[in-house]
Symmetry: C2
Subunit: 465 residues, 2 copies
């Protein structure tokens, strides 16, 4: 839909000129800066905006959007640029709104276990701010992304099996709508049955329905004790079955991550860990000292039932960090498997009962295609990542990778899964939206887009095909 819209370079030039009058040095048309703002961690083409404006308040964002709306000029919200599917590219040019200066923690309500943040606050900055409160924000997508960006991509990560995804941890949003109005999606109460869930509609909308200018987020108590450990398994299937049994048994596992044998080999090479090069689960349990010890012991028993083990675990922070080093080094060790290659990260998510099949078939596909591609999974959610190491100077390699990515999505969809569990659609996965949702549901999404953004100016060329 958005792609049918034509945008006028003259209108954009006019808007950029007017914004320059108002924002002065906080507006830039410098090409390097513009290209940085279109830069994404994907292999997509760099499509820079015409200008980047650094907003400092919701009112400033509203001013930019109002002007862009008046002239039909695209608006691309920007947090830290760590998204993976081309979310911040500007295929139609327009104005990029950089929200990194809106980085205040506005309020922490310790009694209510919530906080109010501006969208440019990163997750690490928030947790640093919360240091003395006994509270933390659990969602951890890997990168130190901005919270606005994490909301917009419905991010999750290693803790989601216990604490949910961004969808579950946003109480309310302040949003600048496509006509430049500032609205609030909900009250600060922990739950409500008062009308349509606007909050969840903006979570995961990737900036295509409005610009998030403030968020009220749920916080959680820092657990009194954390146990962490690692456990080798003879096969991916055994590891997945042990994961299913663990969750079914009601153990409130906080993290449960799978590394496939190639990924373990990579960290062995990179970090000299000397681990057995078989599939491995890394786990974390949160609770009281007694309860995390009980949970760890029980997991060890379950692992043994599936021929896994030994489960090596500890409650000591420094030893836990050492045991989890394989996970922390996963990305860089993967890159080192093929020096000079670029890492293309992708994700799918399937019902957990299909996960072992999906990972095993994917490994076979990788082997058959001749790719180098370690696998890493948030297995408690049925979500896994493949890191493709691609030689960008070799068109044949790129073609192989593209074919693989396509088959991976097809495989996930065939197993009642989704084409992305946590990375989002951006530009690159739009082509799967129809197959995933069907024409009727997709038409409803299009109807929402048209209702919220009739001129199609909000992050055009994303999400909807």
């Amino acid at each position: 839909m958005a792609d049918e819209t034509t945008f006028s370079p003259a209108a954009t030039a006019l808007v950029v000129h007017e914004l320059g009058q108002h924002f002065g040095e906080r507006l830039s048309t410098n090409e390097t800066l513009r290209r940085q703002h279109a830069h994404t961690l994907t292999w997509g083409e760099n499509q820079p905006p015409d200008a980047v404006v650094f907003a400092q308040s919701a009112r400033e964002v509203a001013r930019v959007v109002t002007l862009c709306a008046a002239h039909g000029v695209p608006v691309v919200p920007y947090g830290t640029g760590t998204s993976l599917e081309g979310h911040v590219n500007a295929p139609h040019g327009g104005v990029c709104i950089d929200l990194s200066l809106m980085n205040r923690v506005v309020a922490v309500h310790a009694e209510d276990l919530d906080c109010v943040v501006e969208p440019g606050v990163t997750r690490k900055a928030l947790n640093e701010h919360l240091r003395d409160t006994g509270l933390f924000f659990p969602i951890d997508p890997g990168a130190d992304a901005s919270l606005g960006g994490m909301i917009s991509t419905r991010a999750s990560g290693t803790n989601a099996v216990r604490y949910g995804t961004m969808k579950d941890n946003v109480l309310s949003l302040e949003v600048v709508t496509a006509n430049g109005e500032i609205i609030r999606t909900a009250r600060r109460a922990k739950k409500s049955s008062a009308g349509y869930d606007l909050t969840r509609l903006f979570v995961g909308a990737e900036g295509t329905l409005g610009v998030i200018t403030q968020a009220t987020l749920k916080l959680h108590s820092i657990p009194e004790a954390i146990a962490g450990g690692i456990c080798p398994f003879p096969s991916v299937e055994a590891a997945c079955n042990a994961t299913i049994a663990t969750i079914q048994s009601g153990i409130p596992v906080a993290r449960i991550e799978l590394l496939d044998a190639l990924q373990v080999k990579a960290v062995n090479l990179y970090s000299k860990l000397g681990l057995a090069e078989t599939p491995m689960l890394l786990l974390e349990f949160h609770g009281t000292q007694a309860s995390v010890e009980e949970q760890s012991a029980r997991f060890g028993e379950i692992a043994a039932e599936f021929a896994g083990g030994p489960f090596t675990w500890t409650v000591k922070p420094e030893e836990r960090t050492r045991l989890w080093q394989a996970r922390h080094d996963a990305y860089w060790s993967g890159l080192a498997l093929r020096p000079g290659a670029k890492a293309v990260a992708t994700d799918v998510c399937v019902p957990i009962s299909r996960l072992a099949d999906c990972v095993t078939q994917t490994q076979a596909d990788i082997a058959k295609t001749g790719l180098v591609a370690p696998i890493l999974g948030h297995v408690g959610d049925g979500n896994f990542h493949v890191t493709l190491l691609v030689d960008m100077d070799d068109p044949a390699d790129i073609t192989r990778a593209e074919g693989f990515l396509h088959r991976l999505v097809q495989r996930g969809l065939a197993m009642e899964g989704t084409c992305t569990g946590e990375h989002g659609i951006g530009q690159l996965k739009r082509k799967y939206m129809r197959e995933e949702h069907g024409p009727g549901a997709l038409a409803l999404m299009g109807a929402i887009k048209t209702a919220f953004d009739p001129k199609g100016i909000m992050n055009p060329g994303k999400v909807l095909p």
Copy 2:
């Protein structure tokens, strides 16, 4: 918006006739039956539909909606009729679709901790069906409501503090849209970042955007052990502060319910329990034997810090039921406080830090107004209920009650709360939507309604003012 629409009696008569040809005895125009289907547990006027049709499949629902859409006739979906704010009334007449015959549990995926149900399955029927699986569905709004209705009102209840509300426990929906199309809102994967969250948009939409014909729900493991207990407190404030401290300390309390002194007095009278007539918390902890014992002991210590106690608790099922009898008898005991009166149940929800204030001010209001109205709270969520015992033959009593209800909502909104935590908007709370959400957010809700249901046929006169 919907109220501006005019519906044609002739069109309705035509549709009812045509549906009669197809549905035979599964369509009824019997007045008693029609009035039963408009009956709600509120003091709202009974506004019956023109006909009730008992659908047996999504295709049948689609047939009804398609016909109604063609002729601009209202459609009112109906589950068990236990909603509280006039959700199933038919102020514009039209066709009520009774979904009680669509009561099959379509699938249970034990490994994935999910199940697929038709909308007429009640929560108790689902849990009965799950009996041998070790799994359960936790949401418990009190009434044995249909799951379709619980989804539509975004229901929650006593377990929500631990297991979330319906919003958190629906993976995917099959919906008949306002043009009679059957769509699916999401895949069965546990999480997804693929596009707009249509699922959460239909959750809580009260049938105004479409008719839910199937739902994929999350299930949870039945805990190995459950501890339950009761704890008196010197004041509502002490009970609320102990609740806050409990949640802050990270104790994963499964249920934490407040009865105010009047409610305790009511259960003493009704069930001869001999409890101290002070505010009381009832708690439940889910986990292993060791962990629920640890949680119970810790709560006892916290309660003592706030001058509460003794905390009487047990892990034995029959004793637990006895301790919790005060909670189970709350509704009927409340009615017995004023024989012949009708119970009008209402709810608001505020940030938990404001809960003690809100409850205390509400008690003072009740006393000043001269009402009989016990209070019951899901205090872990900041949500509480007032049961007004109203003499429906006394206009002055009704006026007093109406004034109180209005002030209660105003009080909740002034404390950053919502006019309803779990009952929904229906007809009776529409007048608070503008104040709660503001004109901009309300306009977005209106835009969604118009986009999804341009003819305004889906449950008109509900949710939006």
